[in-house]
Amino acid sequence: MNISIQNVEMTYSNGKQALQGISAPLQSPSLIGLVGPNGAGKSTLMKLLVAGLLPTKGEILLGDSPLISKEKELKENLGYLPQSFGLYDELTVYQFLDYMAALKGIPQSRAAIEKAMAETNLSQYKRTRIRTLSGGQRQRVGIAQAILGNPKLLILDEPTVGLDPEERINFRNLFSKAAQDKIVLLSTHIIEDVQSICNRIIILHCGIILFDGSPQELILAAQGHVGMIDQMPAEKEEGYHITARLNTLKGVCCRIVAEELPPIAQAVDPTLEDAYMYLIAKEEKK
């Protein structure tokens, strides 16, 4: 599968410009992490990709044709988990997935449902009514309906929200495995999720792409801009971004990102989170 986002702009009717001329090719196989602060335009981009919105400018191509003319083809190959979604509470987990399988036109739905339930650790809740599930279990039902029928394009908006750490690790592995033969686009606030599985990161900020590349490239860009210093008074924090306060034997130390590290700082290897913070801080300073 091959999707091309070309100079896409999206302005809502209230005048809010969510995306400003963004371009990016998406090719399978890949697992792409879409990262950015709240309001960066991640969910809007995802809605555009699932043909839930039409761009105000630019276009999205599926293969060589505009997405809108191939909407049916797109949806036949799509698994989508929105950030906020509802489920039919009166149905059981199996019934809801069966309903979704019918809407998706999945042949041999029984096997596909069993597989999706097993992968999302929901088999034991097969006959449980959705209204009795916890938030994390409902999220898993959402993920199960998205992966149902092994779609070629998997778009997941904040899929690990509400999951406990063990489940998050399980799902990271699941998405990583799934991405071997498809496009998986994963939007998240949790950098750890991206670091461990994504082979490409797109950082969105105020509707523009700040970075599009591998996690290693992003880390490399922050090299020399991350350091450790002893805690300083608040008035001296200007020009730095403290990413962590750490309790050490020497007392409290701060991990900082800065365009230029102060002489008292000891440079350390950046993590992906540092690199992300560095990039966002640099942009906000502009």
Partner: protein, 241 residues
């Protein structure tokens, strides 16, 4: 497709509002039969088509309210959230909506069958009357246009602003109480009480069941309006907001 229809039907029939309204409608039907209808309408027998028309006209508002409750399910906040998932499948939205309308139609039909079944049982039990053939026309004249018109109106209103549906429910109750000309009298409550008095009596001492052209025209107009509104509601505007 059948599977989706069956799930939708199950969701409607197991809904607590439907169960509650079903019970209320059944009780109200029995009370109407044993109160207003048992003495007959406009000097006709209690089991005449005229009396039966009044009975259906009086129970129709409850059927319509149940139908409008079904329609609220299509436009509720919760439903919108589920649609964020269902709308990204390859299933045609118009076909999906039609399937759900079909499930609502079956729900309405089941409630109508209960209302009709209660009346048939009442007639047989109280009057040993079982010649129900002549009651078919009032059934069609009341239940079909009412269903099509209010389904279309409900769907169109629900798309524009869902809370309007509750206002329509209130209007339905008022609508059943006011005197309207035959062309506009959807439930026919006034019509079935007054029109037979203007007709000559037949050999059996009762006016034959025949409705004026204006009444037919009114029903056809309601059917057409309902169909158009339904079509407008099914035609979904696309996604830039």
């Amino acid at each position: 497709m059948i599977k989706i229809f069956l799930y939708e039907l199950r969701r409607i029939l197991t809904n607590k509002f439907f169960v509650g309204l079903f019970i209320v409608t059944c009780i109200y039907s029995w009370q109407t039969l044993s109160g207003d209808i048992i003495t007959g309408v406009a000097n006709t027998a209690p089991f005449s088509a005229w009396s039966y028309g009044l009975y259906l006209g009086k129970t129709a508002p409850l059927l319509v309210i149940t139908l409008l409750f079904f329609v609220t399910f299509l436009y509720s906040r919760k439903e919108k959230q589920v649609q964020s998932i269902t709308s990204t499948t390859s299933f045609s939205p118009a076909r999906y909506c039609l399937l759900r309308c079909a499930a609502m139609a079956v729900g309405y039909l089941l409630l109508s069958v209960a209302v009709i079944g209660i009346s048939f049982f009442f007639y047989d039990w109280v009057f040993q009357f079982s010649d129900f053939g002549n009651l078919l026309l009032p059934i069609l004249l009341i239940l079909l246009p009412t269903f099509v018109f209010f389904l279309g109106l409900g769907m169109a209103a629900g798309r524009i602003f869902p809370p309007i549906l509750y206002g329509i429910m209130l209007l339905v109750l008022i609508f059943g109480q006011i005197a309207l000309p035959p062309v506009a009298d959807l439930f026919g409550i006034q019509f079935y009480q007054s029109y037979p008095l203007t007709l000559p009596l037949g050999a059996d001492g009762e006016p034959a069941f025949s409705v004026p052209a204006s009444f037919w025209i009114g029903k056809i107009l309601y059917l057409a309006a309902g169909g158009l509104l339904m079509f407008a509601a099914l035609f979904k505007k696309k996604r830039t907001y």
